[in-house]
């Protein structure tokens, strides 16, 4: 077992526990965005920052990826942490203001203004959909492409992926996209995969055993 101090409280956790897990278990709330139970920790959004260490050596780390260490001193809402979190939210607002999730975060953390150049991205690169597709749906139909400011998420060659079964898992976990899924067809805001009356999922054998997040789904209604 590992002993550490969480907000001054001595606690004991299993080796391998992340700071986020430990804090949540003990009732210290930490806001998260890219983290999701059932998906591997990713550490993309930095919303879950906590402060570790003491004095001049104290530093901010993302709690969803940081594993508990013996004797670690963790503060989950010190002034520095709160300031950093507000900044993260402000930056998220600057890139993706239309997201309900981010708006809610902003109001919950008292962010009242946004001082950066306003953009209207529909993706914050949290990678939830990519991990969902790979880790839970075993499909790997979408992934990151490009680099730097050209980094984006999509299917290879921007074509409808053969391994995608239109389960909708990627959309259901997305904290940012309001446009729902556009798949590989940028002209269409809604893919219509379900609604076009010839849903590909019906043709796939063994689809009964696969999870689907499309609700309500026309395909299912028809086949009933």
């Amino acid at each position: 077992m590992i002993n550490l101090t969480l907000n001054g409280l001595p606690v004991e956790v299993e080796p391998g526990t992340t700071l986020l897990e430990a804090a949540t278990f003990l009732g210290f709330p930490i806001p998260t965005l890219c983290h999701m139970e059932g998906l591997s920790p990713y550490g993309a959004c930095r919303l879950c920052v906590v402060e570790i260490g003491e004095g001049p050596r104290a530093k901010l780390v993302s709690s969803c990826t940081y594993r508990a260490e013996q004797g670690l001193k963790v503060r989950t809402s010190s002034a520095r942490v709160v300031r950093a979190r507000r900044m993260v939210i402000e930056l998220l607002l600057a890139s993706c203001p239309q997201s309900k999730t981010i708006q809610d975060l902003a109001s919950a953390h008292g962010v009242r203004q946004q001082r950066f150049r306003q953009e209207h991205e529909d993706c914050i690169m949290c990678g939830r959909c990519v991990r969902m597709c790979e880790e839970q749906m075993m499909a790997k139909a979408i992934g990151f492409q490009g680099r730097g400011e050209h980094r984006r998420i999509g299917t290879p060659f921007d074509k409808r992926s053969e391994v995608c079964r239109l389960c909708g898992g990627c959309i259901s976990v997305c904290p940012a996209c309001q446009l729902r899924c556009t798949y590989s067809d940028p002209d269409k805001v809604i893919c219509g995969g379900c609604a076009n009356l010839a849903p590909p999922c019906l043709e796939k054998p063994g689809f009964d055993d696969l999870m689907c997040y499309m609700k309500p789904c026309v395909a299912c209604e028809i086949s009933k």
């Binding site: 790997k140 979408i142 990151f144 492409q145 290879p156």
Partner: protein, 280 residues
């Protein structure tokens, strides 16, 4: 795309195989064709999504066909402060294409990169792998001209790294030199080769380090040919295989002592000269 399969098989299981495989495919086709990536995905068992991610991550990889010559202008920090943007503009003005595009005649592809590793010598322009340093706008026409002529061409009279060798057959010791056919101003080496359904003569430049050849039948890239002595008709085949591609090596006796070996694969540049060796 059978060549792609071979490339993949050659590197399967190596550490960091994917990048090597992609590099070789790009060397062969000048870009990464979609079918090729699908073959790679099938053979390596990696998802196409991952492979596409890698292919789009590195600027070196291109998913669009490139022209015969590739010009890369550095726009990295060091080159930038030394005026690289002007060089890039001038290049694109003279070629009539923007960065990332290929001229309509398929001659040049212009690309920009962020740092090509020669910061102290900037602005850097790399043409077909040859670095030009301290490039001024006035030097651009000359760079384009030389690139078009072929930067890999060697001038046998001034370049000390190339020298003519005279060779003979390892079996009958008959000279393979053909004074009647000249390549690069030197008598050429004449052998007979066969590959696929074809059988015919092949002339090799006798300049050591030159890759100039002339053949009766066009040899497809990557094809491994069998080499024969035109006099005794013995197959010229060494005991060892090419260290670079695994094809057989072709040995020839060098006049004055030693053996020169060349790789039998078209496009493979492996060769070696062993002045003390003998044909085993």
């Amino acid at each position: 795309m059978s060549g792609v399969g071979q490339i993949v098989d050659r590197h399967l299981g190596e550490r960091g195989e994917l990048i090597t495989i992609l590099e070789e495919i790009q060397a062969k086709y000048s870009y990464l064709p979609e079918e090729a990536l699908r073959v790679v995905s099938e053979r390596t068992g990696r998802s196409l999504t991952d492979i596409y991610g890698v292919a789009t991550f590195y600027k070196w990889f291109s998913l669009k066909p490139r022209g015969r010559h590739l010009l890369t202008c550095c726009l990295g920090t060091a080159c930038h402060v030394r005026g690289a943007p002007r060089i890039a503009d001038e290049l694109s003005r003279q070629l009539g294409v923007r960065a990332g595009e290929t001229t309509p005649d398929g001659e040049f592809t212009l690309e920009t990169q962020n740092c090509l590793g020669g910061c102290a010598l900037g602005p850097i322009v790399v043409a077909d792998g040859h670095y030009f340093s301290n490039v001024a706008t006035s030097a651009i026409p000359r760079i384009l001209e030389r690139t078009k002529e072929g930067l890999d061409r060697v001038d046998a009279r001034t370049d000390e790294r190339v020298f003519p060798v005279e060779v003979s057959c390892a079996r009958c010791n008959h000279s393979l030199m053909d004074p009647g056919s000249q390549l690069e101003g030197q008598p050429a080496i004449r052998v007979t080769i066969s590959f696929g359904q074809h059988h015919g003569w092949l002339l090799l430049s006798s300049l050591y380090g030159s890759y100039t050849i002339e053949a009766q039948h066009e040899i497809p890239f990557d094809e491994v040919a069998n080499f024969f002595c035109p006099h005794c008709h013995a197959e010229l085949r060494g005991a060892s295989d090419c260290a670079m591609c695994g094809a057989p090596m072709v040995p020839m006796i060098v006049r004055g002592g030693g053996v020169v070996q060349i790789c039998a694969r078209r496009g493979c540049r492996a060769h070696m000269l062993d002045l003390n060796g003998s044909v085993s």
